[in-house]
């Protein structure tokens, strides 16, 4: 792939990732890999019990080990300055993963809760010493199961870090259901899921006097900075957080859990840099998870297949400190035109850490329930599943009546179905056989809300007199392709070729960007970068037209176009570099800022349609996904290659959610049944079929300046439902649990 040479076309180009070389040669340095001379290693120790208190930590043997520098427990860890509230990191404020910081007292709230930090000169010594700690507990009964929690369930005022209400309703769902000609009632259960990015969360910390440097694996360096500043009671201006390369996150690094602050405290305790990496096992108990849940859904409809009412309720465990539920019901309230809706979250307190964002947080589970129920309704009505959805298409938000800023959903159904070959489908279940395998196809709709950040997003553009540019914003690269995409955006804004622009991110020394969560990254960062690049272009054009020495002198700035770094008006031309050199300026710089218009009278959502074909061996209960097709309308696509990559990735996460990923707390002990990648199953290469991604570009003039709606989550939404609906088409069996296990099909 060669870089495009004409400037107005960088956005939309199928450009290969610009961070490819460091990643394929091993030279990309992740957060525990940065040079830190004399660094010690910290090993966290988690509680063996799920409820009770720590009676004593006998650290004598651990401290006597060679190389051990410190053992920190609730008895000697300095207290935190304050516990900030739990607010999603998109807000640009402190964003702790839960409103509990460990080792402030002897209480144990959940298994795996951090109760000690052992620091030694090598990892081996730290880990060994951690095993030598003799910890005695007083254990009290724990709540770990739905059976224990169901009776004490309550409806929270707010969920999701206070951002969403515990109830959503319109119309009168009871009346709507009572008056329905047809009804589908279904109950679904979901196992807990864990993010498990390949890079475990990690922080390298050191102090330079009273200034703190953190290299942190995070979705937002600013989120780490603010959260640690509040916890430790030190000014933001004295903390620098760097995170250039992050080895995946999927929500596990969206909120700031306790380890960056613990790494800072450990580094202060031992007076040298400290590397703190979670073990794989600790990734199951330290960074949140998608909670185990039950959902009940009822659909009422007319015989023509028009929805009259939807009731969608959810029950899930949360921690003792926070009312957290992933918002599974939100999209159900918005996806279809339907007069009556009733949605309720119910929570019960359990001995768990606070659950957190995990890819498509809420939508992945909620649309599984809704879209499986819609498939049942289509089957009852004898209607094609795509046709049923078209009949209930909402051309405005059913909650607010506001029109969509853009949709593209009908086009997604049409193009997805065409590419998949849906039109020849025989609707009868259980009639297609290939040897031992029953074959089936299924589909589902997808929707994901566009969540604009509430704070200004900033970037800076600098042009040097050699004709190259650097554009900067604090955001880290965690696999989304942001470095590549933002270079493209910068090139267009400046009127320069991609090859002469460079994007730098991942550092709080750079202009402020909120954590890139909830598919908001591409939209908000492109807005800031576009704004900075445009400001610098306008500054340089203004300089040229006001300068008697420039061939552009006296021209109207509006008639000056910039291509390939050359400003032109008619036959007059001068390059950026020429202007700067001629006027003895080594560089020029501008910042740009963007804040979304929170009062825009539009509803904002990204839409898509999912199709899957499965083969089921009914004797063995095996399911193989043979192919997947997804059509998505994410607004403008900055880079089709990286966008397809993320959408494909999301669809394959849907496959994992449908068939593999499962965890449950053990009754009694409150520990996770699975705490390794050997038993918590994720999709491997052989599980993954070929995946087709159809990009339906829609123009959106509302969401942000470039009309970018994001691709991180929508790929997963509905994918598991399409697979479950295909399993029904293959076998005639409705499986209403995730994952769909062998036992469920036998």
């Amino acid at each position: 792939m060669t870089a495009p040479t004409s400037t107005a076309t960088a956005v939309g180009q199928d450009l290969a990732r610009l961070d490819g070389r460091p990643k394929v040669t091993g030279s990309a340095r992740y957060s525990t890999e940065v040079p830190a001379p004399g660094a010690a290693h910290a090993c966290l120790v988690g509680s063996r019990i799920a409820a009770g208190r720590v009676l004593a930590v006998d650290a004598e043997a651990a401290r006597a080990e060679e190389g051990v520098l410190a053992v920190l427990t609730h008895e000697n860890l300095p207290g935190i300055a304050e516990q900030p509230p739990l607010v999603p990191s998109l807000a640009g404020t402190a964003a702790p993963g839960q409103t509990f910081f460990p080792m402030q007292d002897d209480t144990v709230h959940y298994a795996g809760q951090h109760i000690a930090v052992v620091v030694a000169d090598t990892w081996e010594r730290a880990r060994h010493a951690a095993h030598l700690l003799r910890i005695s507990y007083e254990e009290t009964p724990a709540t770990t199961t739905f059976e224990q929690g169901r009776d004490q369930a309550y409806v929270p005022e707010r969920i999701f870090g206070g951002w969403l209400p515990g109830r959503i309703s319109r119309g009168d769902a009871d009346a709507g259901l009572a008056g329905a000609e047809l009804r589908v009632d279904a109950a679904f259960t979901f196992a807990a899921n864990h993010h498990n990015p390949l890079e475990p969360s990690c922080t390298t910390a050191w102090w330079e006097g009273d200034e703190l440097v953190l290299h942190d694996a995070t979705q937002g360096v600013n989120a780490t900075q603010i959260t640690v500043a509040r916890l430790l009671g030190i000014p933001r201006s004295r903390i620098r957080v760097i995170g250039h390369y992050v080895g995946g996150s999927f929500g596990s690094k969206a909120m700031i859990h306790d380890h960056p602050a613990l790494a800072a405290l450990a580094a202060r305790a031992v007076g040298r840099p400290v590397r703190l990496a979670l073990t794989r096992e600790q990734m199951f108990t330290s960074v949140g998870h998608r909670e185990e849940q039950e959902q009940q859904i009822s659909l009422g409809a007319t015989r023509e297949g028009r929805l009259t009412a939807i009731r969608h309720h959810k029950l899930s465990p949360t921690s003792h400190f926070d009312d957290w539920a992933e918002p599974s019901i939100g999209v159900s309230a918005q996806l279809y035109a339907c007069p009556h809706f009733d949605g309720v979250y119910r929570l019960f307190r359990a001995n768990t850490m606070t659950p957190t964002f995990m890819r498509a947080p809420g939508e992945a589970s909620g649309l599984f329930a809704l879209e499986c129920a819609m498939d049942e309704l289509a089957h009852e009505l004898g209607l094609d599943p795509v046709e049923l959805r078209l009949r209930n298409y909402a051309d405005a938000s059913p909650m607010t009546g506001q029109p969509w800023s853009s949709s593209g959903l009908r086009e997604c159904y049409r193009r997805g179905a065409a590419r998949f070959g849906w039109q020849d489908r025989d609707p009868r279940p259980g009639v297609r056989r290939e040897g031992d395998w029953l074959i089936g196809t299924g589909m589902a709709a997808a929707g994901y809300p566009v969540a604009p950040p509430p704070t200004p997003q900033r970037a800076r553009a600098r042009l040097y007199d050699d004709g190259t540019a650097v554009v900067q914003a604090a955001t880290p690269e965690f696999g989304t392709g942001v470095v590549t995409a933002m270079t493209q955006v910068a090139a267009d804004a400046l009127g320069m070729p991609v090859g002469r622009c460079r994007f730098e991110g991942g550092d709080t020394a750079l202009p402020d960007i909120a954590a890139a969560v909830g598919s908001s990254g591409a939209g908000m960062i492109s807005a800031a970068v576009h704004s900075a690049g445009t400001a610098l272009r306008e500054q340089l054009v203004a300089l040229a037209v006001a300068d008697r020495g420039s061939p552009l002198y006296g021209r109207d700035p509006a008639e000056v176009a910039v291509r390939d770094g050359v400003m032109r008006a008619g036959s007059a031309a001068e390059s950026y570099a020429g202007l700067l050199r001629r006027t003895a300026r080594p560089d020029a710089e501008a910042t740009g800022s963007w804040q979304p218009d929170s009062g825009a009278p539009y509803a904002m959502m990204t839409f898509g349609a999912q199709f899957a074909e499965v083969a089921v061996d009914p004797e063995l209960g095996l399911v193989r996904v043979r192919r997947m097709t997804g059509a998505f309308a994410p607004g403008r696509v900055i880079n089709p290659r990286t966008a397809r990559g993320q959408l494909m990735s999301g669809m394959l996460w849907g496959l994992g959610q449908a068939l593999l990923e499962s965890n449950r707390m053990r009754p009694g002990t409150g520990r996770w049944t699975h705490a390794s990648l050997g038993s918590y199953l994720v999709a491997v290469n052989a599980d993954a079929p070929e995946v087709e991604v159809e990009l339906v570009e829609v123009e959106d003039t509302v969401v942000n300046p470039l009309g970018v709606k994001g691709v991180g989550e929508i790929g997963q939404v509905g994918a598991a439902a399409a697979i479950a609906n295909a399993v029904h088409h293959a076998t005639g069996r409705r499986v209403r649990q995730l994952p769909i296990t062998v036992e469920a099909l036998l």
């Binding site: 890079e199 080895g247 990735s649 394959l652």
Partner: protein, 173 residues
């Protein structure tokens, strides 16, 4: 890999007892002789990352389940998190840093970029070391590639693109 791993145990030979304190271990890596002072319990992965600053091999699980730490010992792929560094004394260790020659990317590295076979990049060194070895082992069928690359997890799920990269190198050979 089980048959290959036996080579590391040197069956039938009695090794000199050393440790548990730090011992000097001669470790040839990527054609360069290195000597490290490490405790015998140090894994090859930690020796590379913490003592030789070769951080290309990644620690994804430290349990042998993810493949991110894959390197070659005497040309055979091993999980360096489950391999003791001391057992590699005098053997040729090759890591991702040793794959490009004189700054020119190996064909597999080029193919991974061309096919967009990674996103976050954390599993990528292990994927590439597995992929090159897989083709050299002659396991070149489409299904063999799918199966043979299944020991290397990619949580970004770039699997179809990883297969495309491996096939493109196979088809050029």
């Amino acid at each position: 890999m089980s048959a290959d791993d036996q080579a590391l145990t040197r069956r039938g030979t009695v090794l000199e007892e050393r440790g548990p304190g730090p011992v000097r271990v001669a470790l040839p890596v990527n054609g360069t002789e290195h000597a490290v002072e490490i405790e015998p319990r140090v894994s090859l992965l930690d020796a590379l990352r913490e003592h030789l600053q070769l951080t290309g091999a990644k620690k994804g699980c430290d349990q042998g389940t993810c493949g991110a730490c894959t390197v070659w010992v005497d040309g055979r792929r091993v999980l360096s998190c489950l391999t003791l560094a001391v057992a590699c004394e005098g053997r040729e260790v090759t890591t991702i840093e040793g794959l490009a020659e004189d700054g020119a990317l190996h064909g597999m590295q080029q193919a991974f970029i061309a096919e967009d076979a990674f996103q976050c990049g954390y599993c990528t060194p292990g994927q590439i070391m597995s992929a090159v070895a897989l083709l050299e082992e002659g396991r070149t069928g489409d299904e063999e590639i799918k199966e043979g690359m299944s020991g290397n997890l990619c949580r970004c799920a770039a699997y179809p693109n990883i297969r495309a990269a491996v096939r493109s190198v196979r088809d050029r050979a």
